[in-house]
Assembly symmetry: C2
Homo-oligomer: 280 residues x 2
């Protein structure tokens, strides 16, 4: 009864992403961190040109000071306790202020590789879709789990961005692949099961890498990804103001940036508060 | 049964404010806006030296994109719809990350001059106190209403900051006083009914005022306030990076700054997002 409706919803959402990629000459920004969940900062990001926004549950844990968490690392260990209702509220608020032309993909308890049993339910997906999400931001670590999420998301008109990780990553944010060959094979498999946007986690060790460059092994993995699939591609992790241009040069379609934006906002607050309190 | 407990709680809270004023050479900052309700930015403000933080309901309406509101002016007309539970969650999250030495005063539905019947209940006050608030940030517009709030707040160990307004203010954020003489008389009355910190709304017209200065009529009103009471004093409204030093020169003990901080954070996000999307 709603298959056609949801196909239309997804077509419209895919078009938003295509438009964003074209508007930014082949590589657009998925703006996250504080611009993903705070409506004031989401609006600032969109006014500055961002056309894709990502609220997610670990960032919301930080925003709400949940259990006193102040680092993303710790937030990852309790993010599954942030309720889907809280995420839906965040999506709804951001949607309210940014309008309908902006693509919103949301990470919520159950869309990542959670540390506690956290099934994503049909009710959750419907809630997030009705709150205004276009897609689910996922970090599942097996093709099988990912396929379950893809199928459910598509039933309710949500697209999926999903990621490939490295086995040595501190937190597992995708399907682990050791070599560029494995990256290519897995990316193709992800496309085959219906993933709409295939991403690569790039927050690997940058030891010994010159500022503004990408480590060669990471570059090889991005190359493998970009060549393997025909859907739009993403790079997430470790992307900042120093190195983003190197990422754009790889042909990846979407760079995901959160921490680097939060850091700049934090430094701005730091500067203004220091000015206001440090007087004679 | 809890009178002594609550007196001790209030003594401790008053000491925090005294310590903040001394640490900042007589004039401290009450940091609000995004630093009042977003735990990430509250922590940044505190690390930069802020010792007083103010979450409030109109700012939370903006943070949550409530009904699509994007301006403080519109937020004032629907702020009473932000629930005390939401404010308690914000207070709790900020308290979690800033620790117990920071003074937190909270504005919530019923503590301002609301446009709809919005009584503040005992249950509300207890909730906010237990969430971690030290005080209530109030903007009542008659001495009688203010006295009701003071009495209830003190029963549950919360202190009160309250304000004097000008009859021509766009939104009524305090007890309206036309002349400096009235300001002095009303300030004294406020102190007499138990207001712990007496403030003045200073967001009046700055037309024709040189950058970095305070309009003479505002200066006269601040002078009147500062001389009239022995409790700490506040100035709120229109204080920014250009003119804050002039406020400090008046002898007022606490300057309240929100919008000017939000603007700087917003500009920072704008800059970084533009950099990330405006490439060839």
């Amino acid at each position: 009864m709603i298959v056609g409706d949801m196909e239309q919803k997804m077509r419209h959402a895919r078009q938003k992403v295509q438009d964003a990629i074209e508007a930014h000459h082949g590589t657009t920004l998925l703006s996250t961190g504080i611009t993903g969940d705070d409506a004031r900062m989401a609006l600032a990001a969109v006014k500055a040109g961002a056309r894709m926004i990502e609220p997610n549950h670990p960032a919301l844990a930080l925003a709400r000071g949940y259990k006193g968490v102040t680092s993303m690392h710790v937030a990852e260990s309790l993010r599954h306790e942030i309720s889907v209702d809280q995420m839906a509220e965040a999506v709804h608020g951001v949607r309210n202020v940014v309008g309908n032309d902006i693509y919103i993909t949301v990470g919520a308890a159950g869309t990542f590789t959670e540390v506690m049993p956290t099934p994503l339910t049909e009710e959750d997906v419907i809630k997030l879709a009705r709150a205004g999400a276009d897609g689910l931001h996922t970090h599942k670590s097996t093709i099988e789990d990912l396929k379950d999420v893809v199928d459910m998301a598509h039933r309710y008109g949500l697209l999926i961005d999903a990621y490939i990780a490295h086995p040595s990553d501190r937190h597992l944010f995708g399907i682990p692949c050791e070599t560029p060959k494995e990256v290519a094979e897995t990316a193709k498999k992800m496309e085959d099961i219906g993933v709409d946007f295939v991403g690569l986690m790039t927050g690997m060790s940058y030891e010994g890498v010159e500022a503004g460059k990408i480590a060669d092994p990471v570059k090889e993995r991005i190359d493998a990804l970009v060549k393997a699939v025909s859907v739009p591609t993403l790079a997430e992790g470790g992307i900042n103001l120093d190195n983003f241009k190197a990422f754009i040069g790889t042909g990846v379609n979407i760079i995901v940036v959160g921490t680097a934006i939060d850091d700049v906002a934090r430094e701005a607050v730091d500067r203004v508060v220091r000015t206001l309190v440090e007087h004679e």
